[in-house]
């Protein structure tokens, strides 16, 4: 497997977590919305082959298929200004992908390299949880600019997030930032903040990763409702939008300051 450049994409960023269920896909969709609001052309590649959710979160109707170009290429779908492609667009909602690793890796490579991205500034890759086949494929085959690691504050999530960070370190993918999801609950009637799952976890993890804490996102009923309705909340002006807006701005900064130094390979006859 060799690293190819990705045509039509300026920056490639993986959104990952060690543990499942921490809200990685919701964060990805909202980060994409916030980046779009800041004038960036954004794409989402849903690399969660086994449990794709981006199509639903961006309000793409079930059964919508990407347009095929020629024999081997696909045009990404555009939803609310965000380009996206996902395994969900190639299968039906109730078809499980009962595949072994190599099949899933092959599917990811096709999604990645056969999609004709249209001049995307930042392509976010919504990763599946864990450190498995898909992660290996992506880190070996794609020229990643870096990764954003999402976690919730519980120790059990932090342990897995740390593993994710170590994985990226091993393959020299820089950690661009951490997102602490479900950081606290704010009572809608009295405004009192309660850190249900504990405090300070995101900060500690950011220190371990030597990366900035991009955002601490509160638990909020609307986040879930809007994600299920296919309209990420970060499209609106709201308290949350501010949080995601700041995260997006920081991410843009990080990417601007991350000139990827690549080793040049050459051949000579001496």
């Amino acid at each position: 497997m060799s690293t190819k450049t990705l045509q039509g994409v300026k920056h490639l960023v993986a959104v990952a977590s060690g543990k499942g269920g921490v809200g990685k896909s919701t964060v990805t969709a909202n980060l994409a919305a916030a980046l779009t609001r800041q004038g960036k052309r954004v794409g989402i590649l849903d690399a969660d082959i086994y449990g794709p959710s981006q199509a639903m979160m961006l309000g793409i109707k079930a059964g919508t298929r990407p347009e095929i170009i020629g024999e081997k290429q696909m045009k990404p779908l555009t939803a609310q200004g965000i380009q996206m492609n996902s395994m969900a667009l190639l299968a039906t909602d109730d078809t499980p992908m009962v595949w072994r690793g190599p099949m899933a890796s092959g599917a990811l490579q096709q999604l990645l390299f056969s999609t004709v991205w249209d001049d995307v500034d930042i392509l976010l890759i919504d990763m599946p949880p864990g450190t498995g086949d898909i992660h290996l494929t992506l880190t070996q085959a794609a020229p990643l600019d870096g990764a954003v690691v999402v976690t919730t504050p519980q120790d059990i999530a932090l342990i897995d997030a740390r593993k994710g960070i170590e994985m990226f370190k091993k393959v020299s993918v820089p950690i661009l930032g951490l997102v602490e999801n479900m950081a606290y609950y704010q009572c809608p009637s009295c405004g009192n903040k309660d850190a249900i799952f504990g405090e300070g976890a995101g900060k500690r993890l950011a220190e371990v990763a030597s990366a900035p804490l991009l955002a601490q996102i509160p638990l909020n009923r609307q986040v879930q409702e809007r994600a299920d309705q296919g309209e990420p909340i970060a499209f609106d002006d709201s308290l949350l939008n501010d949080v995601y807006g700041q995260a997006a701005a920081q991410l843009i900064n990080q990417l601007a300051g991350e000139p990827e130094q690549t080793a040049s390979i050459s051949f000579s006859d001496d």
Binding site: M1, S2, T3, T139, Q140, A141, A142, P143, L144, K170, V171, S172, V173, E260, Q261, T262, A263, S264, I265, S266, F267, S268, D269, D270
Partner: protein, 128 residues
Amino acid sequence: MKPTNLQFKRKSRLLAITWPDGDFELSFEFLRVHSPSAEVKGHGGIGGQLPFGKQDVNVEKAEPAGNYGIRIYFDDGHNSGIYSFDTLHELAHNQEELWQHYVEQLHEKGLARAPESQVVTLFSPKGT
């Protein structure tokens, strides 16, 4: 640490690597016989084969592997090893020791560096 430049010299069969901490040259043969592939290293300490007869091996092409290394395609068909930059750095810094060890192993097994030749051991230098 990442190298800034990797130059494969096909005629002298050397890879010249420029690191922030200095320049190194590794022979293609040295790289080939120390391939980090499962074919050479085995899986979890089990299996693996000592490559031999690779004195004249050349490199057909090399590609980046993610952000962390390169894959080298040798002209004997071997291409399954991904040389991470860390591995290359280690190989470069321990070159003499590793090479000495490799030559000793060859000798013990009655194998040769030159392709398609046999070594007839008339006596062992260790005197056994």
